[in-house]
Symmetry: C2
């Protein structure tokens, strides 16, 4: 199996110490009838609790673009993600540590998950080279040369002081990578996972491992077995939310997650953000998500509504006195018309970016809250049926309303 | 006097109807000893009351850049200014009227003063030509040809539905204009003022006239007499806050304002915004001000503090854990360090522009509140003495802290 060694048979979750800085309780497990693997959970961290399934807005540069911490509370963010690669380069992890850590730096007192920088570094293309010891790359800011090893990725995240750190991995594009490349990345990711665990010292910070394996079922299975066999606090499913189709992604999840059925840890699918994709991945058994998608398309003028998507660059909105979404609780919909937002967008006014981001994050976080309510009430399968049309119109490439 | 005809002798303020949409009460007139012409006033409009002396933040495109209406209330804005020229071009005054007027469009329920567009149009340089009937100009957005007459400037402002409209005038650079150019602009401004008054129909909107006259004492005096002789609701002092020195500006104010000593109407000096300049102009007897300066320099990284100005581009702030101004009530100073703001600025993060604007507007609005308190307590001359150093370091070109 291309050098990927993994335990066989029934998967034993690695033993974890009872005084870990993160705990996870499955409040309502997936039903025994196999109709869905969706589950309701509760994550406890030293900065507060998180109800799962959960979507984490992305604060690349220690700020979710255009929003302040009060805005994040207003939209209902329970936990956010920050990017280790970006913060390492600017303003620097040691500087943030001296200033009291990332929570204090950005004035966000709820949980923070930091990624490992693996995705950003490996995405640099010609600007980087990967070897078994780590990744050498040039800064996208000034071209300066840097090196990330598994140990360094952990040290940077310990300096940031996030609640949840993530191991350095080697993601590859799931659809367009050869089996050989996927296998090589899996072997490397496993070796780095061991080194990250060994290097981690901060007892108040959780660490999540990452499963790779592209779209190859046997490699996905092997990677799941290996990563689940290590004493991580949670399991990331990496190397998806890339160039694969929704069906390919679901097939990969249907390999991983049944293997984790008896594993008590949270499952985090990295990089997924459209409502349609989130609904399907929750159904597949995923607990945690992150993506820049809702905020990025908002800044570009695309707002989600129950009927689909509005592109505010369309000139018909310039005379539309209605709010973006009637009844929406967000700051944009409470006070302003589509006409006003369309005007701000055309005038490139800074207020547009904040209002549009507030709307799309409210939309996706309210969608996750609906999913949790449906799970709590045993109505998740009905939600999936009822929102099939909605969800497909809210896929990344869905039609405009 | 270059064709400028004006009444002589004691100036009689024009009679005004008692049911005007704006009233102004001088709560504490300037002291009889002549130590200062500063006064405390109270302006009533159909959208609420305004304590004077007052500074009006500028919302060029129906938004004070980077802020929402709640932010404006938080910094203490009592009234804002919107730009007729910009709103006429985009999104269009008729569109705003159909959408319920400017207050509803931008969700700002407190008073709005609209300028006439004169300053913007006349500032277009080669893109415009002025004749006795009006100004023909090309849009800075798309080069399309437009014409503003006094009647059209009033019609646009009536469509916007601002609380206070302003007449179309012809400002000229005060220092670098010839006496002949200043005189020509004065004659034209007076003729246009008459036409604006005659054209105005909206009984729920106040109209302010504009005094011109550059730095020529006799032209300033004549213009003051002519404009004060018309039935405006308030008197703007235009053609200053340009290329003149502070001393030249004060000399011009010392011509105008003594002539208005018995005039019951508010006095509004257009375009002034640095604390040092505001303090001097209040002392000279001005009640109202507006400027983009505090917000513009904030977006460029310059923040006002009691000791002077901080340029957050200076690398020493990257490690500074202190707030921009200890004890400041603004959102930036309550939660964030100079280090965080300096980081956001370098990363060109949208949140920077909002936080920096909130700080500088809070600073200037709190400064105006201090001026009003000092006036109420009879301590204005002491405030002027005590803040002489402060104020000079907060002049537009003052030193950095």
């Amino acid at each position: 199996m291309n050098g990927v060694e993994a335990p066989e048979g029934r998967l034993e979750a690695a033993a974890r110490s009872p005084d870990r800085p993160l705990s996870f309780d499955v409040l309502l497990p997936a039903p025994a009838d196999g109709s869905t693997r969706a589950r309701l959970g509760h994550l406890r961290t030293r900065h507060g609790d998180v109800q799962t399934p959960v979507f984490m807005p992305v604060g690349t540069n220690a700020t979710v673009k255009a929003l302040d911490p009060e805005d994040l509370e207003e939209v209902g963010a329970q936990i956010i993600l920050c990017n280790t690669y970006h913060l390492y380069l600017r303003p620097g992890h040691e500087r943030i540590a001296k200033l009291g850590g990332l929570h204090r730096f950005m004035a966000w007192q709820r949980p923070i998950l930091s990624d490992s920088g693996g995705y950003q570094v490996v995405s640099l293309g010609d600007l980087r080279s990967v070897d078994d010891q780590g990744v050498t790359f040039r800064s996208h800011l000034d071209g300066s040369l840097h090196r990330f090893t598994p140990e360094h990725a952990i040290a940077v995240q310990e300096a940031l002081g996030s609640d949840i750190a993530v191991v350095l991995d080697q993601p590859v594009p799931p659809h367009s990578s050869s089996r050989r490349d996927v296998a090589e990345a899996v072997v490397r990711t496993h070796a780095w996972a061991e080194r990250c665990l060994a290097a981690h010292t901060r007892s108040d910070q959780a660490v999540f491992g990452i499963i790779q394996g592209g779209l190859e079922p046997d490699l996905r299975e092997a990677s799941t077995r290996v990563v689940a066999g290590m004493s991580f606090d949670g399991i990331c499913i990496g190397g998806l939310a890339g160039d694969e189709s929704a069906a390919q992604r679901r097939a990969a999840l249907d390999v991983c997650i049944p293997l984790l059925a008896d594993d008590p840890r949270p499952r985090y699918l990295m990089g997924l953000g459209s409502p349609a994709d989130l609904l399907d991945a929750v159904d597949a058994g995923v607990d945690m998500f992150d993506s820049v998608l809702p905020a990025r398309i908002a800044r570009n003028g695309t707002l989600w509504v129950p009927e689909g998507r509005l592109n505010l660059r369309n000139s018909r909105f310039l005379d539309d006195p209605e709010p973006v979404q009637a009844g929406c609780r967000c700051r944009a919909c409470r006070s302003f018309s589509r006409a006003y937002l369309a005007h701000l967008l055309r005038a490139d006014e800074l207020l547009f970016y904040r209002l549009a981001t507030l709307h799309n994050l409210t939309f996706v976080l309210d969608f996750m809250a609906r999913i949790r309510s449906a799970l709590a009430e045993g109505k998740f399968p009905r939600l999936v049926r009822d929102t099939a049309t909605l969800a497909s119109s809210l896929a990344n490439q869905g039609p405009e309303a």
